[in-house]
């Protein structure tokens, strides 16, 4: 089962050229739920491709209403942790994009130090996007934190 190359992980714009600040800035200009969700749908559609072969049980994120998969790759040379996430639900993919914009391509210690609750709060602030258990946002964030924790030196 071939895991994606480091280059494939690095090609992900989320967390590198697209930062969470860009997402929040975009939200500022969106007035109603329809525009906000259309934006999240667009984020979801633009999520980098996830390798089919990696949609397997060990990468499956449990506790969501939709199917969610998450894989990671740690580059020791640059001390950077990369993630790819996928879902069969577009809105969940959009939420995954927000997670990646926040936490992708950072060092494990940076991720570890991040206040996840504050991130939830901020996402909740984007009116109508609640971090409920069902949409998997919480599970995704927890897995990212866990992945970082195991790489701490």
């Amino acid at each position: 089962m071939s895991s994606p190359s480091l280059e494939e992980f690095q090609a992900n714009a989320l967390g590198t050229s697209t930062k969470i600040e860009d997402v929040f800035d975009a939200f500022e200009f969106l007035d109603d739920w329809e525009e906000r969700y259309s934006y999240i749908i667009d984020l979801g559609k633009a999520l980098p491709n996830f390798p089919d072969a990696q949609r397997k049980e060990e990468n499956y994120v449990h506790g969501c209403q939709s199917q969610v998969w998450l894989i990671d790759r740690y580059d020791e040379a640059s001390d950077t942790l990369y993630f790819l996430i996928d879902s069969d639900a577009i809105i969940v993919k959009g939420l995954a994009a927000i997670v990646l914009a926040t936490l992708n391509a950072k060092s494990p210690s940076e991720i570890h130090k991040m206040d996840v609750e504050a991130i939830f709060e901020r996402i909740d602030l984007m009116r109508h996007i609640s971090a409920t258990r069902g949409n998997g946002l919480r599970s995704m964030l927890e897995l990212v934190k866990k992945s970082a924790a195991t790489r701490l030196t």
Partner: protein, 407 residues
């Protein structure tokens, strides 16, 4: 008899429906998961706690008597509701799930290694897992009664499925996913002809139409109060007296005993043998009020109203390109499971909620049925008598809007 109120008047008893969600009037289309409660039920429970609260069956005082009469009075109302032969046949449980576990446990002594339990493919997990656990314990075998493409049970299959080893048949009266009304009377007759005990899940049937357990002639029948406009935390197991007599207690403790000593304990008579510990008293009072509420209403008119909503929804579904109905039996309650091409059920649920509309999405605790249908889950809108034609119209306007958002 006082004049019966019209179905549209009954909606006024459900104050919870009169609110906005995400800035839009709430439309509650998730009654198959749990129904809303009329104020008469909430008021009965409030009055119980304000005026009558005490433990039941043993207080040497007035409040104890009042609590007992409220609690046992509710049991009598259930006897009438199901047309059971006697109050000994009505056991209070936490809900349908506990009822199924109680029966599975109680029938264990009847089973031997290699015996068979038949379960339909459209069962809720509550009517699958207890039988799997029992089978595991005894070394029995669970066999599956199949479902047709449009969502009916293949009743004729029973002719080959039932063997001399078959001891139990567990089947739902109405599918929680498909809405199909199962011909339970016919299924029970086939089982009975082969001395097979029948256990019927009535959780989705009792909210929609009148059930007569003696006419069905089933051995066990269970339902949950919270699905028939009553409180959570309580349900009912009906069982034929002879079988309940024969079954061992499910849990031990107070209430369920006649005499306890370290030399040996004797158990209380029915129905108390199966009701260990202080029972859900206020909830039973709530059940009584819910049944009074249903009895005082015109159930035929409620049923007709729900059916009209379903017919309207099926008609409107034709206007949504790529919308596929899951479960198209000609005989079904007002439950509409569906998929829309290109949209995940969870996306549909999220975006309907933004428009004030609450539906259920996912596998509906019926994973084997989902697997058989080849879908990861469905979106499900379920209607109750308090819903309106205007709400159904708004559901489809909302779905059309969602579809536009994705293109």
């Amino acid at each position: 008899m006082s004049t019966q109120r019209s179905v549209s008047e009954l909606r006024q008893d459900f104050k919870i429906l009169d609110q906005e969600i995400n800035g839009k009037p709430l439309i509650y289309f998730d009654s198959a998961a749990s129904t809303q409660k009329p104020e008469q039920v909430v008021e009965a429970m409030r009055a119980y706690y304000y005026n009558d609260n005490a433990n039941v069956h043993r207080g040497a005082h007035t409040l104890g008597d009042r609590a007992t009469s409220g609690f046992e009075g509710a049991r009598d109302k259930v006897v009438h509701f199901l047309n059971a032969a006697s109050r000994k046949e009505i056991i209070w449980t936490k809900g349908t799930t506990e009822a199924m576990n109680l029966v599975a446990n109680g029938l264990a002594p009847r089973l031997n290694k290699g015996d068979e339990i038949i379960v339909s493919r459209m069962e809720h997990h509550a009517n699958i897992v207890p039988w799997q656990m029992l089978a595991e314990r005894i070394g029995a075998v669970v066999k599956v009664l199949d479902v047709s493409e449009n969502g009916d049970i293949l009743v004729e299959q029973l002719d080959t499925l039932i063997t001399a080893k078959t001891k139990i048949l567990a089947c739902t009266h109405v599918s929680n996913v498909l809405g199909t009304i199962i011909p339970i009377k016919e299924i029970v007759a086939r089982a009975k002809a082969n001395n097979v005990i029948t256990v019927i899940d009535g959780a989705q049937a009792t909210p929609h139409f009148k059930v007569d357990v003696q006419a069905l002639d089933c051995d066990f029948y269970a339902f949950s109060a919270h699905k028939i406009f009553g409180p959570t935390g309580i349900g009912v197991l009906y069982g034929k007296e002879a079988l309940l007599e024969e079954m061992p207690p499910y849990q031990g403790g107070g209430e369920m005993i006649e005499r306890v000593s370290f030399e040996g304990t004797t158990f209380n008579q029915l129905p108390y043998k199966f009701e260990a510990g202080t029972p859900p008293i206020s909830q039973a009072v709530g059940v009584g009020a819910a049944l009074d509420y249903l009895n005082s209403a015109d159930r035929k008119a409620m049923e007709a109203h729900e059916q009209a909503l379903l017919t309207q929804a099926i008609e409107l579904s034709k206007g949504i390109p790529g919308m596929r109905l899951i479960g198209e039996s000609s005989n079904k309650v007002a439950v509409m499971s569906f998929l829309i091409e290109g949209l995940h059920p969870s996306d549909i649920g999220t975006l309907l909620d933004q428009q004030g509309i609450g539906i259920r999405t996912g596998h509906h605790c019926a994973m084997p049925l989902m697997e058989y249908l080849g879908v990861p889950g469905t979106a499900r809108a379920s209607f109750a008598f308090y819903n309106t034609a205007e709400e159904v119209e708004r559901l489809f306007e909302a779905l059309a809007k969602i579809q536009r958002m994705f293109t």
